[in-house]
């Protein structure tokens, strides 16, 4: 059973032929894949490590970030990968309205990330236009705590929007390379 599943996966990879996929989204994904590949190779040698930080999101953004790893989006083919420690990271991908209870943890994670580093605020809450910004318990956006390079709005942003945002990061990062 396992062998047949493995062989099927090799012969008919979903990543390229996405059954039932929206053709427009697939085209956009293909275009993104080409652009992101070139930009990443040029600036970062085809490798960009991302440390994700949930600074108090409702977890919807995490669901879609996790979806980037499934066979349809296959984030790692772009040289983008999630790492377990900020010490290994080039990029911090931050979600949530930054709850006051998470502010210090976000600051410390940022400090623990080596230079050069970029911060991506993903989702309306992280961008600063979410529903929680007026709460006694929230700071109200990532840029109020650490500098933000790229903003990806959406509630939550779709995996395709997240990929598009990471592409724009590649363009931003050109000016910050040491």
């Amino acid at each position: 059973m396992m062998a047949s599943l493995l062989i099927k996966g090799l012969l008919r990879p979903l990543t390229e032929s996405g059954p039932g996929a929206d053709p427009v989204a697939s085209e956009e994904l293909a275009r993104l894949a080409a652009q992101l590949g070139q930009a990443a190779r040029r600036r970062l040698g085809r490798s960009l490590s991302i440390r994700q930080i949930d600074a108090g999101s409702c977890n919807a953004c995490e669901l879609e970030i996790n979806a980037l790893g499934n066979s349809y989006y296959d984030l790692e083919r772009f040289g983008l990968r999630f790492v377990a420690s900020p010490r290994h990271a080039d990029v911090l991908l931050v979600t949530g309205p930054v709850t006051k209870n998470m502010r210090e943890a976000l600051e410390r994670t940022y400090q623990a990330t080596p230079n050069p580093k970029w911060v991506v605020a993903a989702g309306d809450c992280a961008v600063g236009c979410g529903m929680f910004s007026e709460s006694y318990a929230c700071v109200g956006g990532v840029s109020k705590v650490v500098p933000v390079d790229v903003r990806i709005p959406g509630c939550p942003p779709s995996p395709t929007q997240l990929l598009a945002g990471l592409l724009s990061l590649m363009e931003v990062s050109a000016g910050k390379r040491p």
Partner: protein, 471 residues
């Protein structure tokens, strides 16, 4: 009432409060009730001192409203991390005075050491802190500290216009956005005695089953992935994505946020959407049995799952722990049956129950519920009546502060939600209790005596909410 709860004759459903009163929701086999204790002096007798499941609820109530549970053995805060700048934000708001540092429970013994984990975790998951005390490889004690995702959602909902409150409610826990919006709509409709149109009831249940299906498929794979068995993770991830795309095609949002509203649903499903869901169900049905067979017949995987992280039946009874955690340890409670909200009162389905209480049993509950949800989706697609999906509903038409409550089965367990309406169509007050409140404490108990390397398996098999719990 305290006697009945502590003796196990009544299940504790929720405990919350407002300035001057404490509310306790309880249930038994066929009905439920909400008791209110008036406490103008700001204190009330602690239920937690006699019934452990209430301890965290009372600590949270003290943090948020400032009501003092007399006799509560744990004086520490729970959601308040001394960062808000104020005390009792839902009560008589006071500026924050200096608080003593938070102390974890003391652990003494030869050869013990501590492993602090979080709030920032190694994976793409929500924030929380775990303090392990270990002896070699073996966990002697786990103590959780939660509240990092506390957003003050209840305070934002209080006084908000009804549509804003509904949107906030859909962001209490993103993975359960349908279930929370569902509970909110039912509670508001119970308060105003205005049922939604028949078709809306069926579409709500359809969304709830799609949400359950997507989460269970994701969780089954993620649990296996934590045992480094990534092939199942890859394949269930594909199925999960297909569910999300079908949901998007039918309701215009992958997670179906803001689709259930008081008075009905905000979006009709057209024929294209119906076909997208039917096609997805066919594909999942074709692939899923093979994945289950691989799960069940891979010895190295079974070795990690069977007998790991055991939750005892008496614990789930005492904590009235619902959802997967309860049904994997012999407690059959399912809010769809108990509350019998339409259309579940007309749809036959089983709540699968296992008794082993280990990681494997929690996987099997999910497997059986995937099958049940697929069958339910078939019926819901086939039998949903035609008609309007949204009724005439004007929240401003109701005066006198009517109250309503609802219990809805999310993929994780029963979500309790209570509302009181205010003037001008606004929400006056709201309380929500995530199923995780009665599941998180059992995770502390279940990992005792397990090795540290099995914690991710145990944790993922519970999949408790952080944001849903923290509010």
């Amino acid at each position: 009432m305290y006697d009945a709860v502590s003796l196990g004759e009544l299940d504790l459903v929720a405990l919350w409060g407002e300035p001057g009163s404490v509310h306790v929701a309880v249930r038994q086999a066929t009905d439920g009730a909400i008791f209110t204790y008036l406490c103008p002096d700001g204190s009330y007798p602690s239920l937690g001192q006699r019934h452990a499941p209430a301890i965290r609820l009372e600590r949270a109530l003290r943090d948020l409203v400032g009501l003092d549970p007399k006799g509560l053995p744990d004086a520490r805060p729970w959601l308040d991390h001394d960062q808000w700048g104020v005390r009792s934000p839902l009560g008589a708001i006071k500026p924050a005075e200096t608080a003593p540092p938070y102390c974890f429970l003391p652990v003494e013994g030869e050869g013990l050491h501590e492993i602090p984990v979080g709030p920032v975790h190694a994976g793409v998951i929500e924030p929380g802190h775990f303090r392990f005390t270990v002896n070699g490889e073996t966990i002697v004690r786990l103590e959780q500290r939660l509240g990092y995702a506390h957003k003050g959602t209840a305070s934002l909902m209080a006084g908000a216009p009804m549509d804003v409150a509904a949107r906030l409610c859909g962001r209490i826990s993103g993975d359960s956005t349908v279930a929370y919006a569902y509970a909110f709509a039912l509670a508001v409709e119970a308060a105003t005695r205005t049922p939604a149109p028949e078709r809306a009831l069926w579409l709500r249940a359809l969304m709830a089953e799609l949400e359950r299906l997507a989460n269970h498929l994701g969780d089954i794979g993620a649990i296996c992935n934590d045992a480094s068995f990534s092939i199942l993770h890859a394949h269930t991830g594909v199925l999960r994505e297909q569910v999300l795309r079908a949901s998007d095609a039918a309701f215009g949002h992958r997670l179906m946020m803001d689709r259930i509203v008081p008075g009905g649903v905000s979006q009709e499903m057209d024929e294209g959407g119906r076909k997208a869901i039917a096609g997805m169900v066919g594909r999942v049905r074709k692939v899923f049995p093979d994945l289950v067979e691989i799960y069940d017949e891979t010895n190295s995987l079974q070795d990690r799952m069977v007998g790991t992280g055991i939750v005892r039946p008496e614990w789930v009874q005492r904590f009235a722990a619902g959802g997967i955690v309860g049904r994997a340890a012999g407690r059959s409670f399912d809010a769809r049956h108990w509350a019998g909200y339409a259309p579940y009162d007309r749809l036959p389905f089983e709540a699968p129950v296992f008794t082993e209480g280990d990681v494997n049993a929690r996987v099997w509950v999910r497997i059986r519920e995937v099958e049940q949800s697929l069958a339910l989706i078939d019926r819901l697609l086939a039998e949903a009546p035609a008609g309007a999906v949204r009724g005439e509903f004007d929240p401003a038409a109701f005066s006198g502060g009517p109250e309503g409550a609802a219990l809805v089965e999310s993929f994780r367990g029963d979500v309790f939600l209570w509302v009181r309406l205010g003037p001008e169509g606004r929400l006056a007050a709201c309380h929500f209790r995530d199923p995780s409140w009665f599941q998180w404490p059992l995770l502390e108990a279940a990992v005792e005596g397990n090795i540290v390397a099995d914690f991710p398996l145990c944790n993922k098999s519970f999949n408790c909410a952080y944001s849903g719990h923290d509010g």
